[in-house]
């Protein structure tokens, strides 16, 4: 990798100041995406701002009906948190299948969401659970946060501090992993809260998206049969050697049905 200047700020304010003062700086949380990217020399930041020293950003709290997860909370901690397992078990389940155990020991929810890799798992949970993303400067709704391929609503120098997930009545995440990378080739998160159902799909397209037709059908009848004939168009989906767009479109329905079945269990 190219060399860079390394910073380990002790406060969010210092981190933000550093990022704002150096236009080519990059923040690093767990580093599970950034370091491999740097190793491949696909990025050349002048400065790396390591958020690892911001202990106040790590931790899980229950606030009313919400699970609030600090941005620097590791996937392993979400996966094994008794609170998360009790309140939103699907979220713990999702976290327990991100990457591998060693990645889960380092990778963070804030990093994953800020990076918005099209094959990442967390964006599906954020959107399906209608979470709120809190930053040093404000709040973003789930639907407004993910903008496109590796793009989010975060401004330059804006850092995620926490993500707040409202409890759902029923929820489940089903992932079809890429056989090589084990990233989500298709991941579907289904959540039902009252009469409101949200279906969020990751991996299949350039960015997480919702499937309105499935949401409507599931709002009428929260059963896998209700969506078995719903096919999403393949046009805008990803296509690569592991999965054609048509295959991904097909898998969206299969994984959505399985998620509904799992949520009903």
């Amino acid at each position: 990798m190219y060399d860079f200047a390394y910073h380990r700020p002790k406060s969010i304010a210092d981190a933000v100041n550093l990022l704002k003062s150096k236009p080519e700086a990059r923040p690093m949380s767990g580093g599970m995406t950034l370091i491999p990217t740097l190793k491949q020399r696909l990025a050349k930041p002048s400065d790396v701002v390591d958020l690892g020293g911001l202990k106040e950003l790590a931790g899980i709290k229950i606030e009313g009906n919400n699970v609030v997860i600090g941005a620097m909370t590791r996937h392993a901690d979400v996966a094994t948190s008794a609170d998360v397992k009790r309140v939103i078990p699907a979220l713990a389940g999702l976290a327990s299948h991100i990457g591998d155990p060693q990645v889960r020991n380092r990778g963070t929810i804030g990093g994953s969401i800020a990076n918005n890799d099209p094959a990442a798992d967390y964006p599906a949970a954020v959107v399906a659970l209608n979470a709120t993303v809190t930053t040093n400067s404000g709040k973003h709704t789930a639907d407004s946060f993910f903008k496109g391929l590796f793009e989010t609503a975060l401004a330059d120098g804006e850092l995620i501090t926490s993500v707040s997930f409202p409890k759902a009545d029923k929820a489940a995440y089903m992932k079809f992993p890429n056989p090589a990378s084990r990233y989500a080739m298709v991941g579907v998160f289904v959540a039902k809260t009252g009469n409101n159902v949200r279906v969020a799909v990751t991996g299949a397209g350039p960015c997480v998206f919702r499937v309105k037709e499935m949401e409507d059908a599931l709002a009428r009848s929260f059963t896998s049969d209700a969506i078995k004939d719903i096919k999403i168009p393949a046009d805008a989906l990803n296509s690569d050697i592991h999965g054609s767009a048509e295959y991904r479109a097909h898998l969206v329905t299969v994984m959505a049905r399985r998620a509904v079945d799992a949520a009903n269990k």
Binding site: Y2, D3, P179, A180, S181, I241, H242, S244, Y247, H250
Partner: protein, 792 residues
């Protein structure tokens, strides 16, 4: 009482202590004072003309010591790499032999072809500098698709091989085979692609070299499976450094699977440049470099036909194959799809007539050479796919069809129609045992139960034969091989009773340090703790051919037996003298010389001590010392055989194939260490399952970019992709080597692809699928099911 340590015992490995404590020593681990680091600039294009290379900016980068380009290397009279096996085409002409420069001079021919070498004070500095080398390329059309590589429209890889054809080779009589097909009651036809694989030994290739100005000696550390052969090639053909001035050391090597047999450009350049730079040079491939530049494996397009009579007896077989050579001919590339492939097409069967035609094609891709099994997995896949398909078409049980056509045990030695003479074997008991272990009888109940869960369950057989233990030198010479194929051994019995076994073969996971010690412990009665196996250093071990083709035990072990015989013979003379007996009356039992019918006894250790302190010694008859050399050249290949049975469950909604049961029963002849043999079988099976379900090297057909250039896109088998395995053995000892052993290193990988794919086809037959390409990835299976549904 101590655990047994002789032949047949499950002795724990001697090499494990260092590997388990992080004290193994691989090439990259070497501390070399004042070392520099090499980085190779690789071609980003599959085919391009190099208009110019400007290294001036790079040369000014921090830490840079030297930069070399193809012109520098050519001016220094470094020769190209060689292909060591001359295959004669069907007209008797030697194969086309285009040049293989160690660094591209004016043209690059695959993504990863070497363009420049930067030597700097650190790896990162070398890489930083390499980015500042400006190469002006004129990009040319690339020929990447094997199926069209021989068509007139395909871009030419080398002027020396018109039409990209390296050879058009055949074996057998086409008219005879055609006549048999004309009389057949049934003909089964197959179009198959044997997918291209990337070996991916977990240790990337690496090299380090040092030049001693005072003596003029070079030392090259290399991740090599055969350091002596590497030295021979570098000395005799490429660098011209005399053998006595070049020491090649292959220390601990982290897996090879064939990919580390060959002489590569990188290690050649590191060795050459060490003298130019005047400091040691280290180079270790990044994994992405390994993907691009290690020799790949397999990659055949084949049409095959099997003719049967009405009772399912095989009458004849016809096979047409195009084999990918890549952009340059690697060390043994030409032999793999010919002598290691077509000669195995008889399988375990009495098929009387076989015709094979193989065309070797150049493409703008990485060179293709031997990978675990080398030719034999491709042959087994053809034969066993044909047999299972024929069974399905003729509604004959696949085990029964195989049994009906097995070579009977009384027919050995058996001359096949494809040149080989099988020495021994008994195939029916193997398949019977496999059927027992796999509970074949219970399969239909398991299939029905799976159906109730929405899964499609299938079962597949694969009965393989392989010729390994390479090999009788004279046969290899007649077939065009450029080297001998014997192996060496030296037993150094030291004065205080411990033993060093020096072998010309090399262990990179195969456990020579244990297996070879067991042989000597058994044969000479020396405790195994007092035996050490030395391998991998041309300065200390006798010239040997190295490890590949499952040859180490059958050939190298046999050499050790011969050396041990010499130790006993010499010891007998010494003991006879010490016991004042006639040599003819001395017998050797359990490590002790005795005179039959008396209580006179001399332990071997005492005879050895006398050999070093020859005060009371038959100096007129024998020399002092106990250091015996042997070279063993086998009389024939060895022929391991076995049957694998694979059961899969397919999820028809997603196309995911789960391997749920896997049985392998093998005949490896006598077994020295069953624990180690089982490990070899497990590993081989997973490489075969990997080929069948996961692994596929894909180049973009337009650009020639390697699409599967990392573990993110090349699917390696992981622990949860496979089950635990059920193994069994049958033993017919090899009649022509002193241990009665056959090879076990490649069997798993040879048989498994067909076992898995036959199971997949069996599973999918009820939904109308007749063909799934290999690897049967979820996408491929889903598309096959989808296609069958659309057709219905």
């Amino acid at each position: 009482m101590n655990a047994p340590t002789g032949i047949g015992a499950r002795v724990k490995r001697k090499e494990d202590q260092r590997f388990l404590t992080g004290t193994g020593r691989y090439v990259d681990d070497l501390p070399l004072a004042r070392a520099t680091y090499a980085y190779f600039l690789r071609s980003p294009h599959a085919h391009a003309r190099i208009k110019s290379i400007d290294t001036s900016a790079a040369a000014k980068m921090p830490g840079v010591v030297s930069i070399f380009t193809g012109k520098d290397v050519a001016e220094a009279k470094v020769n190209g790499l060689i292909c060591g096996w001359v295959v004669k085409d069907k007209h008797g002409q030697p194969h086309k032999s285009p040049p293989h420069p160690v660094m591209a001079i004016d043209t690059v021919r695959y993504v990863g072809d070497t363009v420049a070498m930067v030597v700097a004070n650190s790896h990162e500095e070398a890489k930083d500098a390499a980015e500042q080398i400006h190469v002006d390329y004129e990009v040319l059309p690339a020929n990447v698709d094997l199926a069209t590589a021989l068509q007139p429209t395909a871009a030419q890889v080398h002027a020396e091989a018109p039409g990209n054809l390296i050879y058009d080779w055949e074996l057998g009589s086409k008219p005879d085979v055609d006549a048999a097909f004309a009389k057949a009651a049934h003909v089964t036809r197959l179009d198959i692609v044997n997918n291209r694989l990337i070996p991916n030994a977990m240790e990337p290739r690496a090299a380090a070299a040092e030049y001693d100005k005072g003596t003029g000696n070079y030392t090259l550390w290399s991740t090599s499976q055969n350091p002596h052969v590497l030295r021979l090639i570098l000395s005799a053909f490429v660098l011209g450094i005399p053998e006595h001035k070049l020491r090649v050391i292959a220390p601990d090597v982290g897996g090879g699977f064939g990919s580390k047999i060959f002489c590569y450009a990188d290690e050649t350049l590191v060795c050459w440049a060490a003298a130019k730079v005047g400091r040691p040079i280290k180079w270790t491939a990044e994994r992405s470099e390994s993907f691009q530049t290690d020799c790949h494996g397999r990659d055949h397009v084949t049409q095959a036909e099997l003719a049967l009579d009405k009772d399912g007896r095989f009458l004849a077989m016809k096979v047409e194959t195009i084999a990918n050579m890549g952009a340059y001919l690697s060390t043994f590339s030409t032999a793999v799809p010919t002598y290691l492939y077509a000669t195995l097409l008889a399988g375990q069967y009495t098929t009387p007539l076989i015709y094979a035609n193989v065309k070797a094609a150049l493409t703008h891709t990485a060179p293709v050479d031997a990978y675990r099994g080398a030719g034999r997995p491709e042959a087994t896949f053809v034969v066993e796919s044909l047999v299972s398909k024929a069974a399905q078409e003729m509604k004959i049980d696949p085990a029964e069809l195989r049994r009906r056509n097995f070579i009977p045990p009384n027919a050995f030695p058996y001359q096949t129609p494809v040149a080989l003479q099988y020495d021994s074997g008994n195939y029916a008991p193997i398949i019977d045992e496999a059927i027992n272990i796999a509970d074949y009888k219970g399969f239909e109940a398991r299939r029905a139960e799976a159906r109730s869960r929405g899964k499609l369950r299938g079962i597949g057989f694969s009965s393989y034969i392989e010729a390994c233990g390479l090999a009788p030198s004279q046969v290899i010479g007649q077939l065009g091989g450029g080297v001998g194929q014997w192996e060496s051994a030296q037993i150094k019995f030291n004065p205080t009773g411990n033993v060093q076994i020096l072998t010309g073969s090399h262990s990179h996971g195969q456990s020579h340090e244990t297996t070879f010690a067991q042989i000597v412990s058994d044969k000479l009665g020396v405790p195994i703790e007092q035996i050490e196996v030395v391998h991998g250093d041309t300065a200390t071990t006798p010239f040997g051919m190295g490890t590949y083709g499952s040859r180490s035990l059958a050939v190298g072990g046999s050499a050790i037996m011969k050396a041990a015989d010499k130790v006993i013979a010499k010891g007998k003379k010494i003991a006879a003298h010490l016991m004042e007996a006639s040599v003819e009356d001395v017998v050797f039992e359990n490590g002790t010389f005795k005179v039959a019918g008396t209580d006179k006894a001399v332990p071997l250790g005492q005879a050895v001590f006398a050999a070093y302190v020859p005060h009371n010694y038959p100096l007129a008859e024998v020399e002092p010392g106990m250091d015996e050399n042997a070279f063993y050249d086998p009389a024939n290949f060895v022929y391991p055989a076995g049957t694998q049975i694979c059961e899969v469950e397919v999820d028809p909604d997603t196309g995911v194939v789960d391997v749920v049961n896997f049985t392998a029963v093998d005949d490896f002849g006598n077994i020295v260490n069953p624990m180690i043999v089982e490990g070899q079988v497990h590993g081989g099976i997973v490489q075969g399952v990997g080929q069948a379900l996961l692994e596929n090297a894909v180049y973009d057909k337009e650009t020639g970019q390697l699409m599967t250039g990392s573990f993110n896109d090349y699917a390696m088998p992981r622990a949860d992709d496979v089950p635990s395995f059920k193994l069994g053995y049958k033993v017919t000892p090899c009649p022509h080597n002193p241990l009665g052993v056959k090879g076990c290193g490649e069997a798993g990988a040879i048989a498994a692809p067909a076992a898995v794919m036959n199971a997949v086809h069996d599973a999918l037959a009820p939904v109308g699928v007749t063909h799934v390409p290999m690897p049967a990835t979820p996408l491929a299976v889903w598309q096959a099911i989808h296609g069958a549904q659309a057709a219905a």
